[in-house]
Point group: C2
Chain length 337, copies 2
């Protein structure tokens, strides 16, 4: 009669063993005879024994739980890190707790508190722009990897993309095609990613002798709707920008939808370049030129760092910054005279 109510003691009683012996057999302890292990495992299977992780946690003081805190799991970036973490967890016998903050600092705090109750082995986080103070202090007590978004106040390792370099790459590409009136659609500077991209945009323009025009900069929440609204705002001006840098895949999606709806021709009426990767980038028109992130590699790196042996110490505050690359497709072209 299989039942998850069976305990170690039940098994032990059935087998005429001490429950400590059963425990050792199940955890494959050296000092247990193969015969005993076999008998125990058979009985466990027969009874449908399922260990109680609570008892283990209580005894050992820590769990095999790993947390992943992200603003949005539908976003391909975060889904990819989730996939990688899940893979590594299942290989190593860890569990993955998913915390979705929806970019709400209060919710983020609540989720993190609940995670800490499990005494997790570690956590990978992409924090909200302005986290609660308690969130930060909670994070100080855990092994923590920051993914993409980086807060200076959080210690631990950091895995991200070189966002400033990415923006620079995008703008240099547009400049090389003769564009000067380049619109920027981005997210709040409160986000490390938003700040870095905007900085890259401005600096690159300035170095080329083009003064950044505040009217060509639209900062907005990182949603599809936001992208559409920002594109509308920029393209409805006159004179129009001749090129657009959409600084995230979400924003790019909204922008692309709006451009389609507005019947603007790309790159005829406006060149468009995006940041990031999405499956649809090579499907839209003649392809959407983009500065691509090594997203898979970023995710794999974050996961590997989380699970690294404490032997291979990296200095207290280390950051891995991966370089983006330009993928030219059909949406950018030389500016018409």
């Amino acid at each position: 009669m299989p039942s998850s109510k069976t305990t170690l003691k039940d098994l032990a009683a059935h087998l005429g063993l001490a429950h400590s012996t059963v425990s050792r057999a199940l955890s494959n302890h050296d000092a247990i005879s193969q015969d005993t292990k076999d008998r125990v495992r058979h009985a466990a299977r027969q009874y449908g024994y399922v260990a109680n992780s609570g008892a283990r946690l209580l005894r050992t003081g820590h769990s095999q739980t790993v947390g992943l805190l992200v603003p949005d799991i539908v976003n391909e970036f975060y889904a990819t890190i989730a996939k990688n973490l899940a893979d590594d967890c299942s290989q190593r016998g860890h569990q993955l707790m998913l915390l979705v903050s929806d970019d709400d600092p209060q919710r983020e705090l609540k989720l993190l508190q609940a995670l800490l109750e499990t005494r997790p082995a570690g956590v990978v986080v992409a924090l909200t722009a302005v986290p609660r103070k308690e969130t930060l202090s909670h994070l100080a007590g855990v092994r923590c990897i920051q993914f993409l978004r980086v807060h200076a106040k959080v210690q631990g390792l950091t895995v991200g993309a070189d966002d400033a370099a990415a923006a620079r790459m995008a703008i240099e590409h547009l400049l090389s095609l003769g564009h000067r009136a380049i619109g920027y659609v981005g997210v709040s500077e409160a986000l490390s990613t938003g700040a870095a991209r905007l900085r890259g945009y401005k600096e690159t323009l300035e170095e080329a002798g083009v003064a950044p025009d505040p009217a060509l900069i639209a900062l907005i929440e990182p949603s599809v709707q936001g992208g559409a609204r920002a594109a509308a705002q920029l393209m409805d001006r006159s004179p129009r920008p001749t090129a657009l840098f959409l600084s995230s895949p979400q924003l790019a999606l909204g922008g692309a939808q709006w451009l389609n709806a507005a019947k603007l021709r790309v790159p005829g009426d406006v060149s468009v370049i995006s940041y990031g990767n999405s499956s649809w980038f090579d499907l839209w028109g003649s392809g959407l030129t983009a500065v691509s992130l090594p997203i898979q590699e970023l995710a794999a790196t974050a996961s590997a760092l989380l699970f690294r042996e404490s032997g291979e110490e990296l200095s207290g505050q280390t950051s891995v910054l991966l370089a983006p690359s330009l993928v030219k497709r059909g949406s950018t072209a030389r500016m018409r005279a």
Copy 2:
């Protein structure tokens, strides 16, 4: 000195209270004075007290953990149910454990076993095509909602789309445009979804007096690469099919990429219709016609059912089947004479 090593007893000692009183204060028990609650909460905050969920689980016998078992979290369907579940969990003070099977039955079993160790409140699953027997028996002991994919052997509620009706809708659309040689790209019949869609395809053709041609049916693993390969296989035949039904968004992505690469014109050379929803469907060419799922509604329903009060009993084996709808875009056209 905040530290998550502080226990209830520490707090109690500091406050000169019994630890049971502290416990009650923290869980907002009725029979505790407001003053005591305030003092306790203040002290807890001050000491950075974090409860030990293991001790609670050990004592109560159940956790607030909810599991989500899916084959692939990058897939938008599953990411959406994850988002919905995460939302509801955080509202109700539950935790979300993410189990990604990668469509591997053995891994699926391992993940489920680990989940059961937490004595979860429930689980939402999209099982592999042929799960291990133990997986099924484990599921019998938990509150379980099947999402999209349905196994007859698993009891509990079921939330899915009417896949047969969806395929029928797609094929009827193509038939009405004059197509007869309609290729089908789908997944294994071992999956309930794969079987239902193929059945809808065949039956609809037969009812229209068209004998399904086995050479026009490509069953393949549900990946982007699979979609590309299947499209190639079907379109390289001669005579070519004049229309293609791509029976999942993943397959559609692969198919679209292959058609682009092969420089086939859509709908000029071939009409294409897909199943499901993806952000890029209206961005590809003049738009990809699709039979759309109420994906958000499905996810919300599954989550709501999981959290339903046991009061609102639904009969033992109930299934919610939501209807798809046809979204006409530019990729389907009347067959050329």
